[in-house]
């Protein structure tokens, strides 16, 4: 039945295209016979083959004595039914399969090109190999400038390079520098002596992953061990049980800068002697990379750059072949002139510019779920927590308080004014300090029925205590 319908359609088409059915020439025949071959290249190849066949036959007929026209007609007739031929050829030269294969090839090439473009920078060095030249070293004078974003020039195995591969990341050193405040006062209590504050060091590593990777900042934490030129080694406070930040430890904070990029800031405090270099060991499983931040024997005294011998530094360091060598900044920033002649010790009080009570409603279901996930035992929790928040200002900082704000925060005590009971637990936010004041923000659990508190600070040198009393919601004052 279907065959009959097909034949009917074919006849109708023949009636509709009478000129195509005359087959006066090979061209008109081949046009019909090859119409089911979709790819032009393939169609042309088959056409050439059939034409060769047709011409052979034409020559044979002419050799047998037929006229050219008769030979043509007979040769075309011998070619057969063009519709039937078209159907048979179409079946053999399956267009869809061929088109699909060709499309797949094109896609593979495009994909390969896209991958090459995405990863060329990562896996191939498109930049010419070169070493750090003298002009760049001379420009190092700008590294310490506050306006310069990058304070580091890096190189890898003798090649100018910014980063090193580490697992799914490209790690680079964004900034590295020392900051050592040297404070000289003429305070009677300190005997006009120089009070050297602890040396701080901050190094910022940048972890950049492939665009489609979504990593958690925890991934890049806890994989770093640090050693310096003096033989000291440092460990993250995250890994320490007591979580004390001090000698032999560093505080690491990792934040997401871009969807696939993290900045990990390492703070080293109370370092004492400034090392010439620090090695950052990135460790994860058996793979490891070493980044050496070379601070060199040079120092900045304010903005003056002392003579440096950077090429020698580089050559010396290269013998140890770190995976990435960076040049950091060792800078001494002196506050001497700012505080010289300051007189302190007259007992200026602490100030409490504001205080408030805040209420936290706890989502117990979420907390219980969190506990279960972390394997903690369940315990009774109130539905809501009441917190006291306040700001504590040391108004004559740093004149009278020549200590690091973090140390000052540790010496703060909070006492319930009504009962005299100390508050055992308080949370201090990162202090902010200015040229003439230092501000701490404290939070603690409100004691039931207590609306008045006292903040105490005891000077570690003189033992003198300073106090401020405040009632919630009101400004505090010295008692």
């Amino acid at each position: 039945m279907a065959k009959e319908e097909k034949e009917k359609r074919r006849s109708a088409r023949r009636r509709a295209e009478p000129e195509a059915q005359s087959f006066e020439s090979f061209e008109s025949w081949s046009k019909l016979a090859l119409r089911r071959i979709w790819l032009p290249k393939e169609r042309e190849r088959v056409r050439a083959e059939l034409e060769d066949h047709y011409l052979d036959r034409l020559e044979d007929y002419q050799a047998q004595g037929l006229s050219k026209d008769d030979a043509k007609k007979k040769a075309v007739a011998c070619l057969g039914d063009p519709d039937e031929t078209a159907e048979l050829l179409g079946r053999v030269h399956q267009p869809w399969l061929t088109v699909l294969v060709s499309a797949a090839r094109v896609l593979i090439v495009l994909l390969a090109m896209a991958l090459l473009i995405c990863f060329a920078e990562r896996y191939l060095s498109l930049r010419p190999l070169r070493s750090l030249d003298t002009r760049e070293i001379a420009d190092a004078g700008r590294w310490g400038s506050e306006n310069t974003e990058r304070t580091v020039i890096a190189r890898r195995k003798g090649i100018s390079a910014d980063s090193v591969s580490f697992g799914p990341f490209e790690v680079s050193v964004e900034a590295a520098g020392f900051h050592r405040d040297r404070l000289v006062t003429r305070d009677a209590r300190y005997g006009s002596s120089e009070v050297s504050m602890e040396t701080e060091c901050a190094v910022v590593l940048r972890y950049k992953a492939a665009p489609w990777l979504r990593m958690h900042p925890d991934v890049v934490d806890r994989v770093v061990r640090v050693e310096d030129s003096t033989g000291r080694s440092y460990h993250s406070v995250v890994n320490l049980k007591d979580r004390q930040w001090g000698e032999g430890s560093f505080f690491q904070y990792t934040g997401r800068v871009r969807p696939n990029s993290f900045a990990s800031v390492f703070y080293f405090d109370n370092m004492g002697e400034t090392p010439d270099w620090m090695d950052f060991y990135l460790e994860q499983g058996e793979a490891g990379k070493r980044l050496r931040v070379f601070f060199g024997p040079w120092e900045y005294q304010r903005d003056e750059l002392e003579p440096m011998e950077l090429p020698e530094v580089l050559n010396t360091a290269e013998k140890t072949e770190p995976d990435l060598l960076c040049l950091g900044v060792k800078r001494v920033y002196s506050l001497q002139s700012a505080v010289a002649g300051a007189q302190t010790g007259e007992g200026q009080a602490l100030q409490i510019p504001w205080s408030r009570r805040s209420v936290w409603n706890l989502n117990r279901t979420k907390l219980d779920e969190l506990r279960r996930r972390e394997g903690q035992e369940e315990e009774e929790l109130p539905e809501r927590l009441e917190l006291v928040e306040c700001a504590v200002v040391f108004p004559d900082y740093p004149d009278s308080f020549p200590f690091h704000p973090d140390d000052m925060a540790q010496r703060l005590q909070i006492v319930d004014k009504a009962t005299g009971a100390p508050v055992e637990w308080a949370f201090t936010r990162t202090p902010m300090w200015y040229s003439d004041a230092c501000v701490h923000r404290l939070e603690w659990l409100a004691l039931p029925g207590s609306a008045s508190y006292e903040i105490r600070y005891t000077d570690p040198v003189s033992g003198e205590s300073r106090r401020a009393v405040f009632t919630l919601g009101e400004e505090g004052s010295a008692p």
Binding site: L50, D52, D81
Partner: protein
């Protein structure tokens, strides 16, 4: 004598493969040779031959290559591959069994 197309259709592949057993050939050569050998019983049209040839090529039974003829025209030759030779042997065996059975049936029917 005219042969019913349906009798020929199942055996064109076998005929083409057997023609190539004696050496590489091009399409027109195959058609004329087939006519000559079969005393013009098999008059294969181009529209029948070339789809069969292309199908055999696709299956790997024959290879095709171009060579210029004496008049400078490019001509497409077909070559029987090892796989094609094995296929030919197999089809030939089947054909002999089939034709023997048909002959046997016809003989008995005529004798009856």
């Amino acid at each position: 004598m005219k042969i019913d197309k349906s009798l020929l259709s199942g055996s064109t592949g076998l005929l083409v493969l057997s023609l190539l057993k004696s050496g590489d050939k091009y399409g027109y050569e195959m058609i004329t040779l087939l006519e000559a050998i079969s005393n013009e019983v098999f008059q294969m049209k181009e529209g029948t031959l070339y789809p069969v040839l292309h199908n055999l090529e696709k299956q790997g039974f024959v290879n095709a290559y171009n060579r210029e003829n004496e008049k400078g025209r490019s001509r497409r030759y077909y070559h029987l591959t090892d796989k094609g030779a094995r296929q030919l042997a197999e089809q030939r065996e089947q054909w002999e069994a089939f034709s023997g059975a048909v002959n046997s049936v016809l003989r008995r029917a005529l004798e009856a």
